[in-house]
């Protein structure tokens, strides 16, 4: 099922051609700076791997760009809108797949998606919800409470919720975590389709092999600083040493 065209800035109308631009981003947690002076520019339509050891600031960077948390220093514009002053506009064009899967345990996958759809102003999409759940492999569990789902299935529900938002820019934080091998292939297909649909995708992951294959550019974070950027195929092996079985 091909994704409907992007909402918000299509890939043609962007003046500067940049989906994400940041200058001197900083975020601290008490005495520790999780992000130090990060600057980057990501053109529309590119698929970028964000690599780095645990605690290098990958999640913090994605959450700042997705306006989930504030930046203590620096500025950033996502989908042509400022993350500090135009949060609502950014959020209309952005989707975040986070560690926490943003759902209600007591409700069922169908109800969770229906709630998200109702806030997105797309009430009448019931068949689309079921199709979306089928696409991520949750069709048979659509009406069981999410509390009975395994971690992998919750990740699939979170993925369905991200796809529902039909965003121009997607931030996927460790999307492969908790997924089983079929889940890996599902995610590869989804990212491929997003690329084909003209979306900009930033994937934070430890799986360098997969990242080289899927992404065209790569950024490497170390202790909150951007230490390398360039074509994904050349990402240095030690940059994000190892990680879970790829």
């Amino acid at each position: 099922m091909h994704l409907t065209p992007r909402r918000g800035t299509g890939r043609t109308s962007a003046v500067t051609g940049l989906a994400v631009e940041a200058e001197g981003l900083g975020r601290r947690y008490g005495r520790r700076w999780a992000l130090r002076d990060v600057s980057l520019a990501i053109p529309v339509g590119s698929v970028v791997m964000l690599a780095g050891r645990n605690g290098s600031g990958k999640s913090t960077l994605l959450r700042v760009l997705a306006t989930a948390i504030r930046a203590d220093l620096g500025t950033a514009r996502v989908a042509l809108h400022d993350v500090r002053t135009e949060r609502r506009e950014v959020r209309k064009r952005v989707a975040l797949l986070a560690h926490h899967s943003h759902h209600y345990e007591a409700l069922t996958p169908r109800e969770n998606l229906a709630i998200a759809a109702s806030f997105l102003g797309r009430e009448g999409d019931r068949p689309r919800l079921l199709a979306l759940l089928g696409r991520v492999g949750l069709a048979d569990r659509a009406d069981d409470p999410v509390s009975t789902l395994s971690a992998g299935m919750r990740k699939r529900l979170a993925l369905a919720r991200v796809l529902l938002q039909d965003a121009a820019v997607l931030f996927l934080d460790e999307p492969y975590g908790e997924l089983d091998p079929p889940g890996f292939h599902l995610l590869d297909r989804v990212i491929g389709e997003l690329r084909a649909g003209g979306a900009t995708v930033i994937v934070a992951t430890h799986l360098l092999e997969r990242g080289r294959a899927l992404c065209d550019r790569a950024l490497v974070l170390e202790e909150g600083r951007l230490v390398w950027s360039g074509p994904a195929a050349e990402v240095p092996e030690d940059a994000a040493a190892g990680g879970p079985t790829s």
Partner: protein, 239 residues
């Protein structure tokens, strides 16, 4: 970091001097009140405490509004100081109120609307002090305590009227301020005394809060430390 801050100590010292002067005047030289006798002399310290307790909490409300509308860590430091001093003064006020009520009404607490309102404020702002202990993120702690102060302060008139109506059946309101001209001077001197002392306390406590904030928050990263290569745009330096 200023090494030695004289202003708060000067304010405090002057305040204490005024308080001593006003209190000795009120205790030894002021005439005895016709009905109340000597017990009325408690007014020279009770009324100034009441005025300044309300003033401190009003200052906390102002700091909360400034922080919410304009931001700036200095307002959070002043907010913390004003809340703490307000709570201390409210505690003192309730104690004085009880000591005043015993000889006058035979009970320790006479549900006077003003005093009862201050007791409710004591617990409300005391709760906000507890809130500040249990929130670790400095920004969240600052925003939430500012929000809580605004909510608690807006409640003051409502609490006053509800207690006034609730209590109006029992007895005509005893207004401690029925003070004739001759008694005004010690009252006014003490009022300024407590005011200056409170100003000094808030000033010093603000510096303490500012220092703690400094210790809690890491300084911005020094740009020079940036590791090479400089993080160029992912697309190889296009605009």
């Amino acid at each position: 970091m200023r090494d030695y801050s004289t202003r708060p100590y000067a304010l405090g010292g002057l305040g204490i001097a005024l308080l001593l002067w006003g209190s000795t005047w009120g205790l030894l030289f002021a005439p005895r009140e016709a009905y109340m006798g000597d017990v009325q002399r408690i007014m020279y310290v009770h009324v100034p405490t009441a005025w300044n307790a309300m003033l401190a909490l009003t200052f906390a409300f102002a700091c909360a509004l400034f922080f919410l509308l304009r931001g700036g860590w200095e307002w959070d430091a002043r907010l913390e100081a004003a809340i703490e001093v307000g709570v201390v003064l409210s505690t003192l006020l309730c104690m004085q109120g009880a000591i005043w009520a015993k000889p006058t009404w035979g009970v320790w607490w006479d549900w006077d609307p003003r005093l009862t309102t201050m007791a409710v404020l004591l617990f409300a702002f005391g709760g906000i002090l507890a809130l500040r202990q249990f929130v670790d993120d400095p920004v969240k702690r600052a925003v939430w305590s500012a929000v809580a102060v605004v909510i608690a302060y807006v409640d003051v008139p409502i609490v006053y009227f509800s207690v006034k109506w609730w209590n109006s059946l029992h007895q005509m309101q005893s207004s401690p301020e029925t003070v004739s001209r001759a008694f005004h001077w010690p009252l006014r001197i003490n009022a300024f005394g407590v005011l200056l002392l409170v100003a000094g306390l808030i000033d010093l406590r603000t510096r303490l809060a500012a220092l703690r904030r400094e210790g809690e928050l890491a300084a911005p990263p020094v740009v020079a430390e940036r590791a090479t290569p400089a993080p160029i745009g992912a697309a190889g330096g296009t605009p």
